[in-house]
């Protein structure tokens, strides 16, 4: 459409843009003006990522028509440096406090914070409540908000900087250096999936099933293309040159790129429209020529297990994808002989990852190769699946991960990639695609809903003797990571405790719902929410303090796990509970005092829960390879294929390398993940990057150091320094200097190079689930303090105290960020998050915690080093979410007597549980 030019004032510049005045401001900023620092997370005013200032006031650019801001002063993240006096200070505190993780919400957060600070004539008296009210409209899924609050308060009060650790050559491990990719995140210059595309790129949109289950047939596709000038192609299953099937677990791969004849979940793709962006963008997809016939779907585990239930996959009897099993000792006899046995059932629902960055990217064909630049957690797995889909060799596929605006497991599976790759391959044009928020929620994987039945037995003096645990997981229409969940849960369902008798049986069951896959913890958070509540009930009935009960039963380095593994070292669970004891006692007495002092309907309570989590794949190979090279200019290139989704490997792995090499991190050049440039560092999942890729980096660094010293003919005991192209080595004898530019370079351009691979030593489990599933486990325990409104059932979390055994904390601030982010997601899982397919496909019906929902979080790190990990370190990312929900649920019980067996503990459920607990007590009296 030809539009008269609108006059805009953006970041102090006067501009004329010819667009429809009805266009969203966010689109004009990003597409017409190239100001991609403004992010789009929901297109509905629900997330605040697109916040810009109009006349100095924060507004969502996605709900503002460009015509409404003509001649108004618009300020974006790119303009803050010249238009906000507070900017230098605010930018600095965001960096120093680690307030940005993935960085996707960061521009919106900073713009909002800047407006808030600029609106106050005095800022030194700003208190936390003011900051919460000001920033309440911007959602963050990574940080747990606390570091953002701290950074804004520090900027407001102009307090002394947090003094980011001064980095010294060779001693950066253990120090909170500012994340190395932090500057581009706070400046809004990091490139996410939707932020980069060739100018000539076409746009793709997918046609998806509106029904849980339906047959479909296309009408006249050619007529549709002909009737819509600008559409270049409609692609369907028959256009797939290779295999119309993908999946993260090769022997279970079952998901088509495009369904054929029948769809298995609401949101499943059946066809794709590719064409000129302006045309495709404005297409009403309801006009697509397709006829649907809705079929009766199988929506629940019970329905799926019915003998006459339709089979969702013909080869999978009773809709059973897989079963998991770990058995040790004799559970039945032990439970029969136990002094006390408690049995209970628990239920959890689908949980959405709700990263603020919707899936996005572009693909282009380069000769007979395809290049895909998109957000992903698993570039090498993407490469394998895309090669199979396109019928190409793997080396004909290049994956270039962008910055990832949060992943948490769902960006392990393919999303936009097969569509853009297929379209670019056929059309020989670059093709881009950005999922809408509803599409992202509808079509990507979720946390598995679980139905858990468990019986636990203990002796009179508080020793656990047996746990009988059975869990059914609704794995949805396709396998995704269902097998991983079904196999990981039985290993972990005991909790970090010694259980002489144990039986854990799991099933992953298909339904006609969105595929459930990987989400922080792979099923363990669901299992732990049940198990830690059950143990609390045991402790209560035995009259033993919940913390002491857990101390009494904690695993040690000598006691075998439920798979019979004796860990030998780095079992920090006992130390975690010990570290929490002072806070536990304080919190208990504070809650008692508060409840005694007041007869109000607000009751305080305290709860605790423990957790453990095996780092890396369960009994499967899981290698990472890291390459390092010395450039003739005297800098060291770190080929780091571990995708940083905000959790920090870009920094942590560099710290490990710097120390092992004896240099400063500033001497490292990071070569970011790219399947053409970086060796395979595996996927960012299972809390494995610090542990596995970190170890590979450590090994590669030691090898490179040796090679560098050999350049000067020195042995390993010598030290080296790099200054420009001058290598100076100080060994036993005199100092030697080598000019690097004079040395021959290898095929990569390096004068010295090293590559190392680490694969954690594990062993397969036998038929009873006995063996060595993981080389190391991380441990953790958390205390939750809550206030429950007994009339409304609302729960306010007042404080979380978290103790985690990291083995060795490489970067304490990043580690705290993982704890706080995990706690935030655990709090959401406990209190508000449940995705109901067909409803809640947006961020105002699907609720995640806002900045006002997170309490202060205190992190305590236990460092019980593992001899296997780099510098003694283990993984942390997933561990942090696991104890949060059960700690909160136990605290709700402590406060109110309401035991929550169905998550989330929404106000109506808490009130109902409270009412029935009161009735129960009434009966007992």
């Amino acid at each position: 459409m030809n539009c008269p030019a609108l006059v805009l004032q953006v970041n102090g510049r006067k501009l004329e843009v010819a667009v429809s005045p009805a266009e969203r401001l966010s689109n004009v900023l990003r597409f017409n003006l190239g100001l991609t620092g403004t992010k789009v997370g929901c297109d509905a005013g629900d997330c605040g990522a697109c916040t810009v200032l109009v006349g100095g006031e924060p507004v969502c650019a996605c709900t503002t028509a460009i015509g409404q801001v003509e001649n108004c002063e618009v300020t974006t993240i790119e303009g803050l440096q010249t238009h906000a006096k507070c900017w230098p200070r605010l930018r600095q505190t965001f960096l120093e406090y680690g307030a940005a993780q993935c960085g996707f919400c960061t521009p919106g957060m900073l713009v909002t914070a800047a407006a808030f600070l600029e609106s106050r004539s005095k800022t030194h008296d700003i208190v936390e409540e003011d900051v919460l009210d000001a920033l309440g409209g911007v959602l963050c899924r990574c940080t747990g908000y606390r570091k953002i609050v701290a950074a804004v308060i520090s900027a407001a009060r102009n307090t002394a900087p947090m003094l980011a650790a001064q980095e010294q050559s060779g001693s950066t491990v253990g120090k909170s250096i500012v994340r190395l990719d932090g500057a581009r995140k706070v400046d809004g210059t990091d490139i996410f999936g939707a932020d980069d595309w060739p100018r000539e790129a076409l746009l793709a949109r997918v046609i998806r099933s509106p029904y849980h289950r339906a047959q479909f047939g296309f009408d006249d596709l050619q007529a549709f293309i002909a009737g819509n000038p600008g559409i270049h192609a409609v692609l369907t299953a028959k256009d797939i040159p290779g295999r119309n099937c993908f999946g993260v677990i090769p022997n279970c791969a079952d998901q088509p790129v495009f369904a054929i004849d029948e769809t298995r979940f609401r949101g499943e793709a059946v066809a794709m429209i590719v064409g000129e962006p302006a045309v495709v963008e404005n297409l009403d997809l309801r006009s697509f020529p397709i006829t649907w016939h809705e079929l009766p779907p199988v929506l629940t585990i019970d329905a799926a297990l019915e003998p006459n239930a339709p089979r969702i996959h013909p080869t999978r009897e009773r809709n059973l994808l897989i079963q998991g099993r770990v058995v040790r000792g004799d559970v039945e006899t032990a439970l029969a002989q136990a002094d006390l046995v408690i049995e209970s059932e628990f239920e959890t629902g689908f949980v959405e990852h709700a990263y603020i960055e919707p899936e996005a990217g572009f693909a282009r064909r380069v000769g007979d190769r395809i290049e895909v630049q998109a957000c992903t957690q698993s570039p090498y797995m993407d490469r394998g699946d895309l090669a199979a889909i396109l019928g190409l060799n793997e080396d004909a596929v290049r994956i270039i991960p962008t910055a990832v605006g949060g992943g948490f497991g769902a960006k392990l599976d393919l999303s936009v990639q097969p569509f853009i790759a297929l379209a670019a391959w056929h059309l020989r044009r670059a093709v881009r695609m950005v999922y809408s928020r509803p599409e992202s929620i509808m079509a990507t994987t979720k946390r598995h809903p679980a139905r858990i039945r468990a019986r636990a037995g203990a002796t009179r003096d508080g020793k656990l003797v047996a746990l009988d645990f059975a869990a059914d997981f609704n794995t949805g229409a396709y396998a995704s990571w269902g097998p991983t969940v079904a196999n990981r849960v039985p290993v972990h369902a005991s909790g970090p405790y010694y259980l002489p008798h144990y039986r854990a049986l799991t099933r992953a069951i298909h339904t006609h719902l969105v595929p459930a896959g990987a989400f922080r913890g792979f099923g363990v958070p669901q299992a732990t929410a049940a198990q830690e509540q059950l143990y609390d009930e045991l402790a209560e009935r035995l009259g033993i303090d919940p913390l002491e009960f857990r101390c009494l039963n904690s695993l040690t380095s000598e006691t075998p796990t439920v798979t019979g593994q004796v860990l030998g070292s780095s079992v920090g669970i006992g130390a975690c509970f010990e570290a929490l004891r002072p806070r536990w006692l304080e919190a208990k007495s504070a809650a008692r005092e508060a409840n005694r002092a007041s007869s109000s309907v607000f009751r305080r309570g305290v709860g605790i829960a423990g957790s453990w989590y095996g780092c890396g794949n369960t009994s499967l190979p899981n290698p990472s390879t890291i390459r390092l090279g010395l450039r003739p200019e005297g800098r060291i290139a770190l080929h780091q294929g571990a995708v940083d989704i905000g959790q920090g490997p870009n920094t942590v792995i560099a710290q490990i390398c710097a120390d092992a090499l004896g240099i400063s991190v500033s001497q490292l050049d990071l070569v970011s993940p790219d399947t053409d440039l970086t060796p395979d560092s595996g996927k960012t999942s299972a809390s494995r990057q610090t542990f596995v890729s970190g170890k590979a980096a450590s090994l590669a660094s030691h090898k490179l150091r040796k090679s560098i010293l050999e350049l000067a003919g020195e042995c390993e005991c010598a030290r080296f320094e790099l200054a420009g192209d001058e290598l100076t080595v100080a060994g036993a004898g005199e100092r030697k200097t080598v000019h690097l530019r004079g040395l021959p370079a290898n095929e990569f351009g390096y004068v010295a190079m090293a590559e190392a691979t680490f694969d954690p030593p594990t062993q397969p489990l036998d038929r009873e689930g006995q063996g060595t599933p993981y080389a190391v486990y991380g441990f953790g325990a958390q205390i939750a303090e809550v206030s429950v409104d007994l009339e409304l059932g609302t729960v306010r979390v007042l404080k979380i105290t978290a103790a985690h055994d990291t083995g060795r904390t490489i970067n304490p601030q990043l580690a705290e960020g993982q704890v706080e982010g995990g706690v935030a997601q655990g709090l959401g899982f406990a209190l508000m998050e449940e995705f109901v397919p067909g409803r809640g496909e947006n961020l105002h019906d699907y609720l995640i915690p806002t900045i006002g929902d997170l309490p202060p979080i205190e992190s305590i790190f236990i460092e019980d080093p593992t001899p296997i990990g780099p510098c003694g370190a283990k993984g942390l990312g997933e561990h942090t979410i696991i104890p949060t929900a059960p700690a909160i649920l136990n605290a709700i019980y402590d406060a109110s007597g309401a035991r929550i067996r169905k998550l989330p503990a929404t106000p109506d459920r808490v009130l109902e549980a409270f009412a029935s607990s009161r009735k129960m007590r009434g009966r007992h009296v």
Binding site: D46, T51, T63, T64, A65, G137, E439, N842, T850
Partner: protein
């Protein structure tokens, strides 16, 4: 992409609306989210340039709030404790970002059962003025909103002014919103209370409950029962379940119907107490 008109005056705006049958675009915070991936089609009549529609005017009898006044302006631009509840609602509506754009007329015309602005304005017995080329009509808000996203606004009308009697200015008032999180939340239930007290005796009480019916409702029987009551501790217990019998809450992802009913009663009592507390001070 939709056709777009940007009138400068109210007269021009109603003219355009009459000619095009377009959709009035106020703050955009309902128009854009409702698209959900579909293109914006039809005609938009952007009211942001119509200066007559913005701002708050106080006359001897009444307070007149221009339809295009944003919730941020309402939060800061109204004085009098009778409007504490309305200001509180303004600050709890969506987020700061929403409050800076969303307008009072937009909230009323969109008429969501969970519209944060409606209970307070019902309790304040607000009236709305609707302007078209045919003239102006003024009707009570309680009549204007007829159901779930249904109002008496004809397609050719613009809600120009919200009028509130100044008799409420010094009343006690409160607004309580119950949701599953702190910010950016659609309420499970919400209650507004406005109470006029003289000599420790309730002269007039107005209570309205939102999110518990197709539209927010006044609790007239309770209001009648409260009239003449002397202030005393525990007065809020006057509110009983039967006073809420006109509500017809639904069960959804945010809460069950029973929960809505029981929490509404709790909120009614608490908001009454809170409103009275502002007078005691």
């Amino acid at each position: 992409m939709a056709a777009y008109f940007r009138p400068e005056t109210l007269a021009e705006a109603v003219q355009v609306l009459a000619q095009t049958g377009g959709t009035p675009l106020a703050g955009g915070t309902d128009v854009f989210p409702s698209l959900q991936g579909s293109p914006l089609v039809g005609t938009l009549v952007d009211l942001s340039r119509v200066s007559e529609l913005s701002g708050i005017e106080v006359t001897s009898e009444a307070i007149h709030i221009g339809g295009h006044t944003t919730w941020s302006k309402i939060a800061t631009g109204l004085s009098g404790r009778g409007f504490d509840g309305l200001r509180s609602a303004a600050r709890q509506l969506g987020s700061v970002q929403t409050q800076n754009c969303a307008t009072i007329a937009g909230n009323l015309c969109n008429a969501s059962p969970a519209a944060d602005g409606i209970p307070c304005l019902l309790a304040l017995e607000a009236e709305v003025s609707l302007v078209s080329t045919a003239g102006v009509r003024r009707i009570p808000l309680d009549d204007f909103i007829v159901g779930n996203r249904r109002t008496l606004r004809r397609a050719d009308e613009i809600l120009s002014v919200i009028t509130i009697s100044r008799r409420w200015e010094e009343a006690g008032s409160s607004f309580l919103k119950l949701g599953a999180r702190r910010y950016l939340v659609i309420s499970i239930a919400m209650v507004a209370a406005v109470v006029r007290v003289e000599e420790k005796q309730i002269q007039e009480a107005r209570l309205a409950v939102g999110s518990c019916s197709a539209r927010a409702l006044r609790l007239r029987e309770l209001e009648n029962e409260l009239r003449g009551q002397r202030l005393r501790p525990g007065l809020s217990a006057v509110a009983r379940e039967e006073h809420l019998s006109s509500l017809s809450p639904i069960g959804d992802v945010r809460g069950t119907a029973e929960y809505r009913r029981s929490s509404a009663l709790v909120l009614v009592r608490r908001s009454l107490e809170a409103a009275l507390e502002t007078i005691d001070r």
